[in-house]
């Protein structure tokens, strides 16, 4: 593990951000807490996705599958009388285990096939939760026992829980970014065969990354399910969410430490201030954001070389034309 000065600065900035958020939790009103919690949740999902989709460069579109799985594990466990936090841990383990099993099969695929395989998991799990009524309550949904206490305290509890999870995800990201493991993942992104040739156990690395993504997604789902106290299949396994997570991370910068966080913040701000005014054009605006991101900031906020971009923009146009043709 190499912790040079920039990495330490990033670590300190990140931890300070979360500390600030945790302290601010005492001052926020109910609505702000809700926004904060959903922001923390999306950051967790983005950081989880970033491991497989960003560092490893596999087009994973199955984050909602793990999220929904976590929702249902938590709900079923809590209905069976298991205490909240234990149910969350159960969801973490369940998510990691499912990811390991799926990864063994899916990670042998590449490109489109991998992308479609992961989308198909979302679809299959949604159908299963829709039809397996004795376990999941079917399309009607499932009620999760509500946490005792006054709404303010409960809201604050979930906010802190989600923020701690986000902090954990952030620490995992920074460790991956600076460690041998992350280096291996980046090698895999660039050239899998070459990576295996220099002695990286490619398959184990891939499964490990996939498991981390799965565990984070599933835990976020579990906390979410306990918070909203009611889940239904189309909410838990949403195709929109699975794409949103990828887009948010792209917006912030894939395979960077702060990218997922920045993407989630940008997205939530946009959602709260823009979408609220255009109820009917929700998905259309999301689509527009996708198109804009891909055409104008394909590297994302933290993945674009802004300095070079500005230098190029500052250069007078004529000089570009006067350059010799290749």
């Amino acid at each position: 593990m190499i912790f040079d000065r920039p990495a330490i600065i990033k670590l300190v900035v990140g931890v300070a951000l979360f500390m600030g958020a945790a302290i601010a939790g005492g001052l926020l009103d109910n609505y702000q807490l809700q926004v904060g919690t959903s922001l923390a949740m999306l950051s967790v999902l983005c950081m989880g996705w970033n491991i497989t989709g960003g560092y490893m460069g596999y087009p994973m579109l199955g984050m909602a599958a793990f999220f929904g799985l976590g929702c249902y594990i938590d709900a079923i466990a809590q209905v069976a009388g298991i205490p909240v936090v234990a149910a969350w841990l159960l969801a973490t383990a369940g998510g990691a285990l499912t990811a390991a099993l799926l990864g063994l099969a899916l990670l042998r695929l590449k490109g489109h096939y991998f992308a479609i395989g992961t989308i198909a998991i979302v679809e299959v799990l949604r159908e299963v939760s829709n039809n397996w009524e004795s376990l999941t309550g079917g399309a009607v949904g499932l009620n999760v026992p509500i946490l005792q206490g006054d709404p303010e305290t409960v809201g604050r509890f979930f906010y802190l829980a989600m923020a701690s999870l986000a902090l954990l995800a952030f620490l995992i990201t920074i460790v991956i970014d600076r460690s041998r493991f992350g280096f291996g993942l980046r090698c895999i992104r660039q050239n899998e065969q070459a990576a295996s040739m220099v002695g990286i156990d490619v398959f184990r690395y891939k499964v490990a990354a996939f498991m981390l993504s799965g565990a984070l997604g599933s835990t976020a789902g579990a906390v979410y399910a306990s918070m909203v106290a009611f889940i239904e299949p189309k909410d838990a396994f949403s195709l929109i969410m699975t794409i949103e997570v990828a887009v948010m991370t792209m917006l912030g910068g894939m395979g960077t430490i702060f990218g997922p966080l920045a993407g989630a913040v940008f997205f939530v701000v946009l959602r709260e201030f823009v979408w609220a005014n255009f109820i009917n054009w929700h998905s259309g605006i999301l689509g527009l954001i996708v198109v804009i991101v891909i055409y104008f900031v394909p590297g994302g906020l933290f993945g674009t070389n802004w300095k070079a971009l500005f230098r190029r923009a500052a250069r007078p146009r004529a000089s570009v034309r006067s350059q010799p043709a290749l």
């Binding site: 992308a115 198909a120 039809n131 054009w281 394909p298």
Partner: protein, 285 residues
């Protein structure tokens, strides 16, 4: 009873083939998973409905017009938007087409509203050996199969078709042979959209259509392409028939609510066991 389900499945399968063949072509030639495909099917269906119900034109005039409109739509989208990112990694092209799909679907939803609409054409039923088959399904399926086979024939025997196949095999070599790659890409995408529009017209004859069905259509197209093999046109026909049959039999044995899952689970199995599909060739990635 079994025969009835098999025939229903095969009739559906013909439609599925038409639905998936454009998707398969685009995937094979452009190496793009076109998430927009489902919305193009819905768009075709709605244009058809508007033409017949609101403008009062005859169906045989509306359907070709719809196909032409969608061809133009696809051509423009490819030329204007997709061509710029075509060499980018899969995640980029896939997310971009999904973004476009969200926009198009949102527009359809706001223009046509979410109420299911259907042409509800009744051409009577055919009774053979105790099976009841609505004529309109047979007509829809025949048209779909005819168009699919026509496309297959054109790909094999027209100059343009050979050019498309050449680009699919090796785009660099094709460029050296004087084929204009961007032109072929746009044509291919246009043809994909055209087939989607045709499938939409046929769907509107048989089922009530809502904008929300774009995801369902896209899902079917995925499954069929994986079953039949990536980017292969005959593969899409085989995959369509297989999916129709499997769904028919799944409905019979497990109940209708599991029909879609059976298709997806079959797809997962095929993807894992032999990723090049039933009729697919190796080497397309």
């Amino acid at each position: 009873m079994l025969a009835q389900y098999v025939v229903n499945g095969l009739l559906m399968g013909g439609l599925y083939a038409c639905l998936a063949v454009g998707f398969a072509l685009v995937w094979g030639v452009l190496n793009i998973v076109n998430m927009l495909h489902g919305s193009m099917v819905v768009l075709g269906a709605y244009f058809c409905l508007v033409g017949v119900q609101q403008l009062g034109l005859p169906l045989y005039a509306v359907a070709p017009a719809v196909c032409i409109v969608l061809f133009a739509f696809g051509y423009v989208i490819q030329r204007g938007l997709l061509n710029r990112v075509i060499t980018q990694p899969i995640l980029i092209t896939l997310t971009l087409t999904f973004g476009l799909e969200l926009i198009v679907n949102n527009v359809i939803l706001n223009v046509f509203s979410a109420t299911p609409r259907s042409l509800a054409v009744n051409l009577g039923t055919l009774d053979v050996w105790g099976m009841r088959i609505p004529m309109v399904r047979i007509v829809g399926m025949l048209v779909a199969v005819f168009l699919t086979l026509l496309l297959y024939w054109l790909l094999r025997h027209s100059k343009m078709g050979r050019a498309i196949i050449a680009v699919r095999m090796d785009r660099h070599a094709a460029a050296l042979m004087g084929i204009r790659i961007p032109q072929i890409y746009a044509l291919t995408f246009g043809i994909g959209a055209l087939m989607a529009g045709a499938a939409g017209c046929a769907m509107a004859l048989i089922y009530p259509v809502t904008p929300m069905m774009s995801g369902v259509f896209l899902g079917k197209a995925f499954v069929i392409c994986v079953l039949g093999g990536l980017g292969s046109v005959p593969g899409a026909i085989i995959g369509g028939l297989v999916l129709g049959l499997v769904e028919g039999l799944g409905t019979l044995t497990l109940g209708p609510q599991w029909a879609t899952s059976v298709g997806f689970i079959l797809m997962m199995a095929v993807i894992i066991v032999f990723p090049s599909g039933i009729a697919g060739k190796k080497g397309y990635e």
